[in-house]
């Protein structure tokens, strides 16, 4: 090895050490029980309910360093770290959250929560309906982003947090982060809104409806009461997930990853999986159908469809965002065709009209909607810099 190469090797190793990040390690989910009835947008009421959540880092003395991380469609409260009894089960945003990571748990107290109607422990279709003593199943009410945010606010009360340093999310999680700025403008200092839209387009609702129909028309669906019958509409859920997956990737990304590659190197002229993309989608569908609840999936697609903060202001998003007091970071990805940059720009436009402290970045990433979960360095550096600012504000 030449001295020059040696030196370069040394510097690379040194810079790796300098920027080394670690996991939050082993985490333990907790449960909070609420007995104050929660009125829902639909008019229904949840008499009592539980929320399962995880926390990372330490809440400071004046409870000012808390960051709420909101999950998207299929995720949960397990945002970072691993479980002692399941070391392979890494949190869904572990590349973003941890010691030395963009959302640094050495500085911030981070909370992940499973939303109402979920299937990871919080009250939902898999829980018992206290009025009947039976499983909620298909009777669990349809919820909305606003309902979720209300429940999250109660969790904040429970944890003694009157004001979040930031509320953050991607995709459906970003809709919650945005709803927080409208619903509880004084309870958060910053909102981080990634790969979001002010509402779903007709095309988006259409994809969701295909997913729902796949589930509802599965003979095992039984009006949502499949669990009591010991069945599950897995075929429908599988197809629903396959449709979803197509929309999370960009055309280019799919072409790069799979192209027209064949699974066994030749065409068989059958309906078995022949192309790699088919194999990939089936694998994703199967994996998902094995661990996710179809009733939850149905409800979450509805949560997406209903989100429309400008509905109450006659379609005027500027007016809908009038009360926003938080600083807002909006990030979009150029190849995200499901929640395109144009949709994020609508949010930015409305925030600018209200003279909100907004920063907008458009990351040129090839991965489509999924990019918000990946660790593109430009994206992560930006989030890290923003949280540095949040941290400095807290310190001053």
């Amino acid at each position: 090895m030449t001295p020059e190469r040696k030196l370069r090797g040394f510097f690379m190793a040194a810079s790796k050490t300098l920027h080394s990040t670690t996991s939050v390690g082993t985490v333990v989910p907790q449960t909070a029980r609420f007995t104050d009835p929660l009125p829902l947008r639909s008019g229904a009421m949840l008499r009592d309910y539980e929320l399962v959540y995880e926390t990372y880092g330490v809440l400071n003395a004046d409870s000012s360093n808390a960051v709420l991380v909101c999950h998207a469609l299929n995720a949960s409260h397990h945002v970072a770290g691993v479980y002692a009894d399941d070391p392979e089960n890494t949190g869904w945003w572990d590349n973003m959250i941890g010691p030395g990571k963009p959302l640094d748990t050495n500085r911030f107290f981070v909370i992940g929560v499973n939303n109402l109607g979920g299937c990871h422990g919080s009250t939902g279709p898999l829980s018992l309906n206290p009025d009947t003593g039976k499983l909620w199943g298909g009777d669990f009410p349809v919820v909305t982003v606003e309902d979720w945010v209300d429940a999250q606010a109660r969790l904040a009360d429970h944890l003694g947090i009157s004001r979040f340093a930031a509320v953050m999310g991607g995709s459906l999680g970003a809709m919650q982060a945005l709803a927080w700025t409208i619903r509880y403008p004084q309870r958060l200092q910053h909102s981080i809104v990634i790969a979001c839209a002010p509402n779903l387009s007709a095309q988006n609702i259409a994809f969701n409806e295909v997913a729902r129909q796949a589930i509802i028309t599965d003979p095992d669906f039984n009006d949502g009461h499949y669990q009591a019958l010991g069945t599950a509409p897995k075929r429908g859920l599988r197809v629903a997930r396959m449709v979803g997956h197509i929309t999370y990737l960009s055309d280019d990304e799919m072409a790069n990853k799979f192209g027209r590659q064949l699974k066994n190197g030749k065409l068989n002229y059958t309906f078995d999986t022949e192309f790699q993309i088919e194999s990939y989608l089936r694998h994703q569908g199967n994996k998902f159908a094995d661990h996710f609840d179809a009733n939850t999936y149905l409800r979450i697609t509805k949560v997406l469809d209903y989100f429309d903060p400008a509905l109450e202001t006659g379609g005027d998003l500027t007016q809908a965002l009038q009360k926003v007091a938080a600083g807002v970071l909006v990030i979009s990805f150029t190849t995200d065709w499901r929640f395109s940059p144009e949709r994020s720009r609508e949010i930015v436009h409305a925030l600018l009209d209200n003279r909100v402290r907004v920063t907008y970045a458009e990351i040129d990433a090839p991965h489509g909607h999924d990019a918000f979960l990946l660790d593109d360095p430009r994206y992560h550096r930006l989030v890290a810099a923003y949280f540095e600012r949040v941290h400095q504000e807290l310190a001053s």
Binding site: L352, R357, T359, E362
Partner: protein, 198 residues
């Protein structure tokens, strides 16, 4: 934003003089946000920068400046009419493809505009052209083959441009070596700062 990152630039003080205290400012092509940060600190302004480059957007966040990542050539559709007291275009005009459009957009979203650009009529530039070479200097730091500057102009050109379009020039400052001067601006001025209105 052309070659303006980092430390204080000579046109900053001249821009700050035109901007009233507490104004709402939009800085187009804001680079790393140094100007806005300077105006925030010295004039207590609020506002946003607009920038296309990823690393500059990141630098703005680090500088505590609100920035909107956008391509100025696409216009300023994110911004409503008359939503700013001042719209600044500092040493970027000469690199814009559609010069007239951006000037109109500045006057649409702002009550007043401030534009700064290197004066191509500066005698040192003229001298280099006379010698048969494209000028390279502190304010024009590029070679002909790598310059982003596609619409260079002189002080006289710019004033004629404004006059022909009914753009009212409120104030003009011409700087050389960071110092304002009054005599023979088109010949002796290195950098021009214009404050204009509709």
């Amino acid at each position: 934003m052309i070659g303006r990152n980092g430390a204080q630039r000579p046109d900053f003080a001249a821009i700050a003089q035109s901007v009233q205290r507490g104004a709402n400012v939009l800085d187009l092509g804001c680079g790393d946000g140094t100007l806005l940060k300077f105006l925030q600190q010295t004039r207590g302004v609020t506002g946003y920068g607009v920038e296309i480059d990823d690393s500059n957007v990141l630098a703005c966040v680090k500088n505590g400046v609100n920035v909107i990542q956008s391509d100025l050539e696409r216009g300023l559709s994110e911004f409503e009419d008359n939503s700013f007291d001042f719209v600044v275009l500092s040493q970027t005009l000469q690199a814009m493809r559609n010069t007239e459009r951006i000037m109109r957009e500045m006057l649409r979203v702002g009550r007043a505009g401030i534009v700064t650009f290197p004066n191509f009529g500066y005698w040192k530039n003229r001298l280099q052209v006379l010698r048969g070479r494209m000028p390279v200097s502190e304010t024009l730091p590029f070679e002909w083959f790598n310059t982003p500057n596609i619409h260079l102009c002189t002080v006289a050109d710019f004033e004629r441009f404004c006059a022909e379009r009914g753009i009212r020039i409120v104030a003009r400052t011409v700087l050389t070596g960071g110092r304002p001067l009054t005599a023979l601006p088109n010949l002796l001025g290195e950098l021009a700062v214009y404050h204009f209105g509709g």
